[in-house]
């Protein structure tokens, strides 16, 4: 999902370039005009590095994890061509001890690198806005709040896709309701963090007494874009509060609907940030109202299609669950394994631990 989303995310700046054929200018490559490099001050350039790094590292992480699974599929598949293709994809994986040892080391470090990388990417995206002087953009809370927002919307998007995939591929035994419940807890947590960040922004704008800043937020909550702000607030902050109730946390229809709400809300968060701040900034003479053209709609819908297309291709041909990892976990954490272990250890704390806190309280 990350990879496909990043592909879409990477496409947008390119779409929006006035001269897309000159896009290579954004890389620091020596050129015919002498030593004219790029502007390392530009958050957009940071984005170039961040998104490409994010993309390629995610690709590595994803693919290095897939290799053993391709090996598994290869050994189970019939037909020469399939065998050949899956072997090609698996890079000739065998699963020897040394391979696994290095695999573990690699995936640990890649995971270790990816975590700050995710933070950095969302931070840099927030820098795109927060470094500027535009009221409503220039606020220091943006970095952590974008990260929280990314986790929030990321989980929601995963839920949306996962619930469909789970149903279609009959993965109910692998992706249990407990997983979904845990994800919903993350959603209520991050949603509340995002909500606190919204309120902090509002408060500090009021507190600061800075005219433009104050107006930007005044306009945001009461101005002509009230509808967008209201939509954002209700989808992002209010709707996840339902997850305080266990009944809703464990309901698949509720989860599905709310995950879509959150996706909408987070989309509107970006809309609110970008559009309301730009529409009415410093000089009143250039205040305006944004109305999308068919091109805007087309690009937007197109990007969703590209994402879904790639995702469905992936789901069709590639393993949607990390086979090797799940096997390892099953041996230690599955119901059966736990029961066995508990029997072996003669655990004293009764059914409480036996059942597994994660699974049922």
């Amino acid at each position: 999902m990350t990879i496909f989303a990043v592909i879409c995310a990477g496409m947008f700046p390119i779409f929006h370039m006035g001269r897309v054929w000159d896009a290579p200018f954004i890389f620091p490559i020596p050129n015919t005009r002498g030593p004219l490099w790029v502007n390392f001050n530009s958050p957009l350039l940071w984005d170039v590095f961040a998104i490409s790094t994010y993309f390629s590292v995610s690709l590595l992480f994803w693919y290095s994890g897939l290799m053993p699974d391709f090996g598994t599929i290869r050994d189970r598949s019939k037909g020469k061509i399939r065998k050949y293709l899956y072997n090609l994809a698996s890079f000739g994986w065998q699963g020897s001890a040394k391979q696994w040892q290095r695999f573990e080391a690699l995936s640990l470090v890649l995971a270790g690198l990816s975590t700050p990388l995710v933070l950095s990417v969302h931070t840099i995206v927030s820098f795109d806005f927060a470094t500027s002087v535009i009221p409503g953009w220039h606020t220091t809370i943006f970095p952590p709040y974008f990260v929280a927002g990314a986790i929030f919307s990321g989980f929601a998007m995963v839920e949306t896709l996962m619930i469909i995939t789970r149903k279609l591929f009959k993965l109910e035994d692998y992706i249990t309701i407990n997983h979904i419940e845990s994800m919903n807890k993350i959603i209520v947590l991050t949603g509340s963090i995002v909500g606190i960040a919204y309120l902090t922004e509002l408060f500090i704008a009021w507190y600061s007494g800075a005219l433009y800043e104050q107006f930007a937020f005044y306009n945001r909550i009461l101005g002509k874009y009230l509808w967008a702000y209201a939509l954002m607030m209700s989808c992002n902050v209010l709707s996840p509060q339902l997850y305080w109730f266990k009944r809703f946390r464990r309901s698949i229809p509720v989860t599905f609907v709310l995950s879509i709400f959150v996706n909408i809300g987070m989309w509107f968060e970006r809309f609110v940030i970008i559009v309301t701040s730009l529409a009415d900034d410093y000089l009143v003479s250039s205040w305006a109202y944004f109305s999308p053209t068919w091109v805007d709609w087309g690009i937007y819908l197109g990007s969703i299609s590209v994402f879904l297309f790639l995702f469905l291709l992936f789901a069709r041909f590639f393993p949607t669950i990390a086979i090797a990892e799940v096997k390892a976990i099953f041996r230690t954490s599955s119901e059966v394994a736990k029961a066995e272990r508990a029997k072996a250890e003669g655990a004293t704390h009764g059914g409480f631990v036996l059942k597994g806190a994660l699974d049922k309280e």
Partner: protein
């Protein structure tokens, strides 16, 4: 002391460019000279002159006429005035002292002008503020004559008609004139394009363009000008004068004819040159010879005054409640250049509407009568109304213009041309037919009726109305984008109105070190007091810098390309606001937020303090435009100027599309308007004011050739040269003797939103109004009031 009744002398009346220059000399204030003229404007339809006035008295069109009577009564002591405000103004006139006051009137009515003369006579203006030595030779058209022409053509007494520089089929309110022209046995148009009249004529004999031919002029008595060709003829045309020479059986070129004429008639009037050839060569070189004024003194004949007063009063009584006031807009004027896209795209100074006319109404009336269909200006869609005057009616969108009194409907003349060969240029409705005849003349004021229609229309308005005060969050706060004060305050404190700047400067801390500007540090200071918002700078900039015209549709999308725009801010009373015009261009910030964020380093700062663009390097992320606090960066959405290999290679269809839709500079003739010193921009790049880098470079090279240092005034920018009132001062701040360096440290000078540490190199000076009352900030937000 100037009192103008409906005369837009800074915009359209008689000779506005000249008047702007003269007017502004007495309106510039400095610490040493804290005094200025006082200007009162009595008018119905807001004009830039009225917006510039110290006191603007908003009256209905009929009251424009009746106020003349009021003033006469007060000035002569003959009676009382009906309108208290007008009476006060008249009292001021009286107390200004003999020879210190001037009253002008823009109403096309002999009676009104007689009364104006009577007032001026009573004030002692003759010989002091009004002289007779150089009367204007322009604007000598006669309403009576055109009516007679129509009659003559219809009854067959006129058999032949020649049209030169006139287009009565479009611009005359005489009914049936077009049909009458067709009846003429011989009709010839000398127009160099197929205008409305030429289309009716039997023969069209295109005149040369004036840049292709010799000519001479005498705009004012004793002021002689020569015109010489600068290019050879582009088309198969002939100067009208030569045509007439030929038809009258004379030989020789028109050049010889002019020369002979000057030798016989003008050479003798001057004493500067002895010998005709010295005189002639210098006259052609200088373009102008001014000979001693030989005007005769005139005296006022007061006999008809009482008749005029009663005529006028009688006419006023017929006008009723709803009245139309027809006016010329600064951009289009009488419409003779209505096929010029540069002018069409120039937003009207008052209403900021480009590409078409509209019915200007009082905003409260607008709200009350259900025209407020989009209070947030989400879409630039306006309700259309039908305006009827004497049986003729037009349908136009209705736009609220603050300062218009209720019951007044202003419509600009000069629109609704049908002859331009591009449909986008055929905008608006022709209001000439609404001119009502009264006496021998056609009047711009008449009784009207208005009715809302179901239709709506998109209006290419570039600036709408928003309330910029924040009252609800604890105290009134206003953006100090423009700053104002009164003369009295200014005399007391040169920083009046600009007091907050001291505080801003005190807090102006930075985390960066200064990048030195060892050579020049180009700076512009714009005096808001002198700027009258006429828009000449905008057009000058467009022409100098090859700024493309984008067309109505794109203006509606706020994609106009103007490097320089004039922002208009209302303050003060809601119904009769004060207005400040603020030319807004790239501020060339020394700490420019736009430069920081360009990923490809296409925009950066020169060592001369200019914010510069490398178009070749620009990839059009538009991130700089987002970050610009002044919103002065423009993006090329299309290939307006055929600069782009992409369109040439792949997009021929798009090429045509652009050419037909966006009036692009694609066809060879139009491309001749391009300035070869300035690059044309490809589609997909950002562009903005460059401080006319090419002109600065040229000036530097010139100085280098001469082996001297660049002097103050050597380097000029296009907008500065076009500004008649001298509001724009440009120069090198590092040269401590330069005009701009002095203004830079003046107390009136401030930067727009400089509190965010942009360190702009374009600064402004406070607007000073010569009046006693200080208007309070008031919310002008009719659109959300219940």
């Amino acid at each position: 002391m100037i009192l103008s009744v409906g005369a837009d002398f800074l915009g359209t009346w008689v000779s506005p460019v000249e008047f702007s220059a003269d007017y502004s000399t007495n309106r510039k204030v400095s610490k040493d000279k804290a005094e200025m003229s006082r200007h009162i404007q009595i008018e119905s339809m807001p004009s830039i002159t009225g917006y510039k006035a110290d006191t603007r008295i908003s009256v209905k069109p009929s009251e424009e006429l009746s106020s003349l009577v009021d003033i006469l009564n007060v000035v002569t002591g003959a009676g009382a005035a009906k309108n208290a405000k007008v009476a006060k103004a008249a009292e001021e006139l009286k107390s200004a002292g003999a020879g210190n006051a001037l009253v002008v009137c823009g109403v096309n009515s002999a009676d009104a002008q007689v009364i104006v003369n009577a007032i001026n006579n009573a004030l002692g203006s003759y010989g002091s503020t009004i002289t007779w030595d150089r009367p204007y030779n322009t604007k000598q058209g006669s309403d009576k004559a055109i009516v007679q022409l129509a009659e003559g053509l219809n009854n067959g007494s006129v058999k032949a008609v020649l049209f030169l520089d006139s287009n009565p089929a479009y611009s005359s309110p005489v009914k049936g004139l077009a049909e009458a022209i067709k009846k003429a046995e011989l009709s010839v148009s000398f127009a160099n394009r197929a205008d409305e009249t030429a289309q009716l004529c039997k023969y069209v004999c295109p005149d040369n363009h004036w840049l292709e031919s010799w000519n001479d002029l005498e705009p004012k008595a004793g002021v002689y000008n020569t015109v010489q060709p600068t290019i050879s003829k582009l088309f198969d045309t002939r100067p009208i004068q030569e045509t007439l020479l030929k038809w009258s059986g004379k030989s020789g070129s028109y050049y010889d004819f002019i020369q002979k004429y000057w030798e016989n008639n003008i050479y003798g009037k001057q004493t500067k040159y002895s010998g005709f050839w010295a005189f002639w060569d210098n006259a052609v070189h200088d373009g102008e010879i001014v000979v001693d004024a030989s005007g005769s003194a005139a005296s006022f004949d007061g006999a008809s005054v009482s008749a005029s007063v009663s005529n006028l009063s009688a006419y006023v009584a017929t006008l009723g409640d709803a009245q139309v006031r027809l006016y010329e807009s600064v951009a289009i004027g009488d419409g003779s250049w209505g096929d010029n896209p540069f002018l069409q795209e120039l937003p009207d100074s008052v209403s900021k509407v480009a590409w078409g006319n509209f019915i200007a109404v009082n905003p409260r009336w607008y709200v009350k009568n259900g025209y407020n269909i989009d209070p947030d200006f989400k879409e630039k869609r306006y309700a259309v109304a039908k305006l009827t005057v004497g049986g003729e009616s037009i349908e136009l969108p209705v736009v609220g213009v603050p300062g218009t009194p209720e019951g007044t409907f202003g419509v600009a003349l000069g629109y609704g041309r049908t002859s331009p060969n591009h449909s986008d240029l055929q905008v608006g409705a022709n209001a000439f037919k609404l001119l009502a005849k009264s006496g021998d003349s056609f009047n711009t004021i008449s009784k009207a009726s208005i009715a809302k229609t179901e239709a709506t229309d998109l209006v290419a308005i570039t600036q709408t109305h928003f309330n910029i005060t924040l009252q609800d969050l604890g105290g009134v706060k206003t953006r100090k984008t423009v700053k104002e004060t009164t003369l009295k305050e200014y005399a007391k404190n040169p920083a009046a109105g600009n007091e907050d700047r001291a505080h801003i400067m005190e807090e102006m801390v930075t985390l960066y070190y200064e990048h030195t500007k060892p050579g020049h540090h180009w700076t512009m200071v714009i005096d808001l007091n002198s700027c009258d918002g006429c828009g000449a700078c905008v057009v000058a900039c467009n022409v100098e810098n090859n700024v493309p015209v984008v067309g109505k549709d794109q203006v509606i999308r706020a994609r106009e390309m103007h490097w320089l725009r004039i922002d208009r801010y209302y303050t003060g009373e809601a119904d009769n606001p004060d207005v400040v015009f603020q030319p807004m261009l790239c501020q060339h910030c020394d700490n420019a937020p736009c430069e920081n964020v360009c990923p490809v380093a296409a925009t950066n700062h020169s060592s001369e303090g200019m914010n510069q663009m490398a178009y070749n390097r620009c990839i059009g992320t538009r991130y700089c435009a987002n970050n610009c606090p002044y919103k002065v960066r423009r993006f090329n959405w299309y290939d307006y100027q055929q600069a782009d290999a992409f369109d040439k290679r792949y997009g021929t269809s798009n090429d045509q599309n652009v050419a037909s839709e966006y009036l692009g500079l694609h066809e060879p003739l139009t491309r001749m308007v391009l300035n070869p010193d300035v690059t044309v921009r490809s589609r997909g790049v950002m562009e903005k004011c460059s401080f006319c880098a090419q002109r600065l470079q040229a000036a530097k090279l010139e100085a280098k050739k001469d082996g001297r240092l660049l002097a103050d005034g050597d380097a000029t920018v296009a907008c500065q040269t076009a500004c008649a009132s001298g509001a724009i001062v440009f120069g090198d701040r590092n040269d401590k003797t330069s005009a701009v360096a002095k203004l830079f440290s003046d107390e009136r000078t401030f930067g727009v939103i400089e509190e965010i540490h942009t360190m702009p190199n374009v600064l402004y000076q406070t607007q000073v109004r010569n009046r006693d009352e200080v208007k309070k900030y008031d919310i002008i937000d009719y659109y959300h009031e219940s």
